[in-house]
Structures are given as C-alpha cells and as structure tokens.
C-alpha cells in the first residue's frame, strides 16, 4: 500500500543575485526537474544526494511547507496542496538539527508546546514526552533551558518533536547531521524501531553508510532529478561487475583525476578530499585490474605520494560516482 506518492514534481526558485549596491539580477534555479516515486507502508525510503540536489525541497513539498510548480503528491492518500491540514495531522517532520526551539523554554516545555499544537491530551502528552526523552537519553536534561543544550542535544530534541504526536508517516531531513557517533547510532536504532512499529519513513541523507544500513529502498537524486532507484543491493549491482580500487594519497594535483579518467578501461573516477588533512582518496571504477599499473604509473610520474592502495567492495558512493561522475560527499 502506497503511503507517499510523488508524480512529476517540479520546483523552480527565483533567486536574486546582487550586482553592486542597487543592481540585481534574477536567476532561475530549477530545484526539482520532475521527480516521481512512491513509498510503501512500513518502508524506510532514502533520498540520497549531495547538497543542493533537491532532497529538502522534496520533503518540504511533501510536508506541505512548499507548493510545487507542477506535479502532484499524496501522503496517506491526501493531496499535499488541496488537503494540507489532513496531511499535517499524520506526518512528523524533522527539518533542522539544532534550530527551531524556544531558547527560554526548557526541553520539556518546548515539547509540551508542540504537543498542544497537535491537540494532544495533556496527560497523554506528558507520558509521550517522558517516553521520548527516555529513549533519546535526554530525561536528565528535560528541565534545562534549551539555550544551555549542546548541538547534539538539540538534534535529539528536534527528533523528539517530530515524533511527539506518534505520527504514522515520518520525514527526516539529515537526522544524524552534526551528531557524535554514539548519538547518531542511537538515532539510527530508533529509526529502525519506528520501522518495526510499522511507520513509513522518508529519510534524506548524504551519508551513504546511513542510507545503506537503514533504507529498504533508495532514490539517488542529483541536480533535481532521480538518477537511480532501488534497494541498496540493486543499486550496488550497477557497479558489481566492475572493479573498484581506493587509493589513499597525500596532496592532490589539478587535473590528476582527468588523467586517470582517460586511461583505457577506467569507467569513473571520484576524488574524496579530507578537509582537515592533506590526505585524499581517489576511487577508480574500472573494467579489470589490468588498469591498475597504468593508474600507478600516472601517480608516480606526477610525484604523488601514495599511502595505500586497496581493492574495495562497491558502495553506494561508487554507485553515485558511477552514475554522475561526481563524488557524493566530503569525508568528515
């Protein structure tokens, strides 16, 4: 049974680019170029893509915050434009990791405020809030003002708010962004538990590991288009017959990936740069191992210091690199 359905959704934003003090130029940004998908009851569906791919725009349309320019969408059979209030009753949405709180209220009071907005019975609301704070390990901080919360605590509180009315359908926009590994693991556990309870979840992420372990199906979205859709294994099978090597190097040279890309037998090359060190990773998707000596020859000739080279199992990242020729995310 389809719980969420999107048909040919399109969205164009008009942005204004400043040119000097008084001049400005309008520019059209096509955020969604006609995306369609359907999500079944009890499914965790991932929208995987880089920043600016259209993930959040999709969630905002489905959660009635944004009107599409074209196309239709239904949540639990309700049209997101024509029956917005009915949609709002059954969805829980987590949009930001650390925004969206009243700083001078406690964590508990923030949740209670939203419980009232969802017309929850006060007694039920108290029990529900206690339950959510317990599972998110926030109970001991419930009576502290939110202005004293850490980023991770605010992320958890945000997650609790999305679940306050025990919604049937949940939209989670980058739910673990900014969280430490332990907190991120906790959130993932809860997402799995929600699935066990029969909730339908739409999850956006640019974290491939998260998408891989959580999602039943994934749509890879790039530049406003869905470029692939399937189970994690189906998606990975796109590159299964190919060989993937990962080369860890120090530093990088302009045009290096282009040179590797030109080698006969190389299908795709992705560069993953680390922000906090000089280390970089190059992923090469190729037809066979015969290509490896030629790749190494280029690295040696360019005097690139190679730390390691290894064969790796295809991941969703490789699928993304394969499909778009671009890397998906930066390493944290």
């Amino acid at each position: 049974m389809e719980k969420i359905k999107a048909e040919n959704l399109r969205k164009i934003f008009i942005t204004k680019e400043r040119r000097g003090i008084f001049k400005g130029e309008k520019r059209k940004v096509e955020a969604l170029k006609g995306i369609s998908f359907a999500i079944n009851k009890g499914e965790i569906f991932g929208l995987l893509g880089p920043n600016g791919a259209g993930k959040t725009t999709t969630i905002k349309i489905l959660s009635t915050l944004l009107l599409p320019d074209d196309g239709d969408a239904w949540v639990n059979g309700y049209h997101v434009v024509k029956e917005a209030n009915k949609v709002r009753e059954i969805i829980g949405v987590s949009l930001y990791s650390d925004r969206g709180f009243y700083w001078k209220l406690t964590g508990y009071e923030n949740l209670m405020y939203f419980a009232y907005l969802y017309h929850l019975n006060p007694e039920y609301a108290k029990k529900r809030i206690k339950y959510l704070l317990d599972i998110l390990e926030l109970s001991k901080d419930a009576d502290r003002l939110v202005e004293e919360y850490s980023t991770g605590m605010k992320s958890k509180l945000n997650f609790a708010r999305a679940l306050i009315h025990d919604p049937e359908i949940i939209f989670l926009d980058e739910p673990t962004i900014g969280l430490d590994p332990n907190s991120a693991r906790k959130i993932r556990e809860i997402i799995r538990d929600l699935k066990k309870e029969g909730k339908t979840i739409l999850l956006t992420t640019h974290n491939m590991y998260e998408a891989d372990i959580l999602c039943d199906r994934i749509a890879i979205i790039n530049k406003g288009k869905i470029i692939a859709l399937g189970t994690p294994n189906e998606l990975k099978s796109v590159v299964e017959k190919d060989r993937v090597i990962e080369i860890q190097i120090y530093g990088i040279l302009n045009g290096l990936t282009d040179k590797i890309r030109k080698i006969n037998g190389v299908k795709r090359v992705g560069l993953i740069q680390e922000e906090k060190s000089l280390k970089n990773r190059i992923k090469v998707i190729m037809e066979s191992d015969d290509v490896v000596p030629e790749v190494l020859r280029i690295l040696v000739s360019e005097k690139i210091k190679v730390e390691s080279i290894k064969s790796v199992e295809p991941s969703l990242e490789d699928v993304f690199v394969y499909l778009t020729g671009e890397r998906l995310e930066k390493e944290e």
């Binding site: 934003f13 915050l65 709002r88 969206g100």
Partner: protein, 256 residues
C-alpha cells in the same frame, strides 16, 4: 515571566523615566512657570500624572505592535516559524491568539505602573473604574493587533520588521497624544488621529483617572474601537493570507 524579569522591570519603570524626561525638558524650557504654562495651553493641571499615564499606554501600544509583527520575525530567526506550518492549525489563529495573553499582561502592567503615582496622589481607582480601564485597554489593543498582522505579513516578505514597526510606532505615538493633548493640533490631524485607537484610549483612561467617568460617556468610543478592530483585523487577515500564500510558493517561509 521570571525568565524575562529585566524586561518587566524596564516596561514598568519606563513611563516614569520618560515622564521625568518630559518634565525636565518642560522645566528647562518654561522655568518655574512650566506647569502653569502647560495648564494654560492644555488645561491639564497635573503633568506628572498625565505623562505617566500616557507613557503606560504608549508602552502597551508599542509592545502589542512589536509582538505581533516582531514575534513572527523572531520565530523566523530561531526556526520555529516554519514548524507551526507543519501542525494542523491555522497559523493566523496561532499568531492572533498569541496576542491575547500579551494584551492581558499589558493590563496588569498598566495597573502596576500607574498604582504608585495614584497612591502618591491619594487618587486610587475603584474596582469598577479599574474594570472599565482594563476593558478599554483590551479593546484598544485589538485594532493594533490587526495593524501588527499587516506588519507580520510584510515581515514574511521583507524581513526588516523593525524598520516597519518603528515607522508605524512613530506615527501612532505622534497621533495618540501620550504626552500632549491632541487639541493642540489642527482639526484635520485630530480627525486622522481617530483612526489610531490609542488616541481614544488615552482620552478615556485620563477621564477615568480623573474620576469624571459616567457610564454613558464611552458608548461612541467603544463602537469606534469595534469598527477599528474590524477594519484593522480584516486588513491584517487579508494581507497576511496573501503573503503567506506567496511565501509557500516561493519558499520564503523557510528563509531567515
């Protein structure tokens, strides 16, 4: 309320400080005869009580305007604005009902502010007088809430709420007679001032404070409040709905 104690102290004491400034300026300009001149020009014998009362209403007016318009801007900045649109409610109703407790609090603040000066003058209000004063304040704040909703609508679009609020506050302050009687202005200005609900509220409250109230006096003014409330609240509703719709189309709801 205990989390904003500094604000409350400021709101309660500000009318006294502003009255002090005006009385000081008056004395500097008029010297020893300042009070006599003020009485001759305006017919008001107690400028201190007059200014404190005017200041108390001015603060209530400003707070309602800033809270209706500014509240939404605040919500945008902290990220809670958009979240209200995820709940199954009319957001316009949420903003409007948010004003009611503030209006009620303003009545309390007004009472606390004017009590010391009335006590000092041995001129405390009876319960029925206070009740009428409270009703007048409440009714006069409703049209302002309508103006606040127009500001809120403009805020959703233009973001610069304080620029708009300050201009409107200045006009309201000029035409309300918080610190001078409007009779010093030409008749045309006095007529325009009728569109500003606080101008009528100031007149009524000063009459009550001077114990010159009779139950028949205020009928037309109450009707004026109701008419102004209808006009401004309708304008606020229409403007806000229009901008809200535009904001959902162009993504402005999320911007801050």
């Amino acid at each position: 309320m205990s989390r904003y104690i500094g604000n409350w102290i400021m709101i309660i004491t500000l009318p006294y400080m502003l009255a002090g400034i005006f009385l000081g300026v008056g004395y500097a300009v008029g010297g020893k005869n300042a009070s006599i001149n003020f009485y001759k020009n305006t017919g008001i014998s107690d400028p201190a009580l007059y200014s404190i009362l005017g200041g108390a209403i001015m603060i209530a007016t400003m707070i309602i305007l800033e809270n209706t318009g500014g509240y939404i801007r605040e919500e945008q900045l902290i990220g809670t604005f958009e979240l209200h649109y995820l709940t199954p409610n009319s957001t316009l109703q949420i903003w409007f009902f948010h004003i009611l407790p503030i209006a009620t609090i303003m009545i309390g603040i007004f009472s606390i502010t004017i009590t010391p000066i009335l006590l000092f003058k041995g001129n405390l209000l009876s319960f029925s007088e206070w009740l009428i004063a409270a009703t007048v304040i409440f009714l006069s704040l409703m049209p302002l809430a309508g103006i606040g909703l127009v500001i809120a609508a403009l805020t959703v679009r233009f973001k610069e709420v304080w620029a708009i609020v300050n201009v409107i506050n200045s006009v309201i302050t000029l035409l309300s007679g918080f610190y001078y009687p409007l009779e010093i202005f030409p008749e045309m200005v006095q007529t325009i001032a009728l569109l500003v609900p606080s101008s009528t509220a100031v007149k009524i409250l000063r009459t009550i404070i001077q114990h010159r109230y009779t139950s028949l006096n205020f009928g037309p003014q109450i009707i004026l409040f109701l008419v102004l409330s209808m006009i401004y609240l309708s304008s606020g509703y229409i403007t806000y709905k229009r901008w809200e719709n535009a904001a959902r189309k162009n993504g402005e709801l999320s911007k801050y």
